[in-house]
Subunit: 309 residues, 2 copies
């Protein structure tokens, strides 16, 4: 089985949407990535850090999904990273109400020895220096390195971010971030500029409008599945990344055509994530449901036009 | 050859975008619809009105495309409808700078006798009473009636609009208009509500994010082609409608699968329209270019995933 190394937060979230609010629940980029990747035949490990306040049942939840959590450091007396946010009525934007870095402030990632040769590395959204620190520990060049990041690091740590971007094969950002990173409004031009920064593949996430994959002169567009209701968008991007990397790691195929499939799987899994608060939907999701929804994605996008004059 | 009846404005536009501005140029919904539909083997006619100030060369342009303009009334001493607008930097929104109804104020549409049995009727954006007036003149029930409208009529003539909506098979609106018309934020729910108002098919246009086709419980998503530069969005929605109805009229096939193809053709033609100011690009567009771009649409959206466990 191929190895997928995931770095990212394992955390507490408190979420408010127009539909309700949660107390502190399980959250974090690596959590969503790991849950999503667990739908594929891969051996995955999470590199992260939590405090002593982090419930054993949350760790067990990851272990029960076959995820190696030996590199999730538990800091004695420490408190787990906490994020709290409130989504606006359209669910496309949100306000951060509270961010408590806690143990994340001094996080030094340690890649488990048996994952320094991982086939695929998924660098979840974190300080770019932490992401670089993970890459530096790899003893074998990974077949694919995927980086997720956000506008916050473009504002506060751009030089570090550009250093790590140089070293990755795939970057995933949203449309606004692609524009901020490049100063280009056109996503086609933005993607072309990001190519010159390093990544051969650029994935631009557009939320309810789907995702674009750019490579060379090629473009692929995966729609988001139109849903009756988006309940909570938290973790959708990470779930997308987990589906993308999980599928790639399983299939061992780095062709553009296979990347398309990976994008579809990412969109597929993300479409479940947003149906309930936090990780709830992902926790009880069945493989058969993912397969059924793949058929919906086909119906949604596939057409058959014969050319005539 | 099947007949396509088009009703809508034939007008002057003055457009400002971040890339430049135009003097009074050829514009109007029916103009764009007609130009776009002329890429298909259909016999089409425009019902509209212009003033005596309207240049013969613009009328010739339509005639040269094989469009029957005998029902474009020329009002002696009258002035042609004029719209002027300025697009914002993102080209997704615009301010109307000037609207002069002129001859449109008293427009009484007259369907040519040989088009009262048209196979497809495209009701371009106009006062819903004018749209109704066209339907009332049909002597044979059309195979398909498509209606385009906008938020303006929802604000000012909702009762009239609901009357004409009842009588059409397909409605095309943008996402914000779908939400305004139904009070539903979710486009899936909005489309379901619009179905109950009459139209069996609901097309929701999302500009650079593509278009959705809803029918029964089915959904199809046609992306917009990601372009290096959108130069001028004016007429994109009408060009889309012209491609949609032109293709349907040509193919005589009202199945959902064929509607998908029609949506793709609409998106295809619209992707050219926005490349230059006004009707410029559409005027010199070749069928071979449309065919080539169809291949790009396939590359953009088609994938081939084999299901496995």
């Amino acid at each position: 089985m191929n190895k997928l190394l995931i770095v990212g937060t394992v955390a507490f979230d408190a979420i408010e949407t127009p539909f309700g609010k949660t107390d502190k629940i399980l959250g974090g980029a690596a959590t969503y990535i790991g849950l999503s990747a667990s739908f594929f035949n891969v051996q995955s490990a999470i590199v992260s850090v939590v405090g002593e306040d982090f419930p054993q049942e949350y760790l067990d939840l990851l272990t029960n999904r076959g995820i190696d959590i030996s590199a999730i450091e538990i800091v004695k007396g420490g408190k787990t990273f906490f994020w709290s946010g409130r989504y606006h009525n359209d669910l496309n934007s949100r306000d951060t109400l509270d961010t408590q870095l806690n143990v994340l402030a001094d996080f030094q990632p340690k890649v488990p020895v048996n994952f320094t040769d991982a086939d695929v590395v998924m660098l979840g959204n974190l300080h770019p220096i932490v992401q670089t620190g993970v890459l530096d520990q790899m003893t074998v060049k990974p077949k694919l390195v995927v980086l997720d990041t956000m506008n916050f690091w473009m504002d506060c740590a751009l030089a570090d971010l550009l250093q790590v971007i140089k070293r990755v094969d795939v970057i995933t950002v949203n449309d606004e971030e692609a524009r901020q990173l490049t100063g280009e409004y056109s996503l086609v031009k933005a993607a072309a500029k990001i190519h010159t920064m390093g990544p051969a593949y650029v994935v631009i996430k557009k939320g309810e409008h789907g995702a674009l994959l750019f490579h060379d002169k090629k473009v692929f567009y995966a729609p988001a599945l139109p849903l009756e209701e988006v309940f909570d968008p938290t973790g959708a991007g990470d779930t997308f990344a987990g589906g993308f990397t999980g599928y790639i790691a399983q299939s061992e195929n780095l062709s553009f055509d296979n990347m398309k499939n990976a994008i579809i799987y990412g969109s597929n899994l993300a479409s479940f994530c947003v149906e309930e608060f936090g990780t709830q939907r992902m926790e009880r999701l069945q493989k058969s449901e993912v397969h059924e929804r793949l058929q919906q994605f086909k119906t949604l996008t596939q057409f058959d036009i014969e050319l005539e004059d």
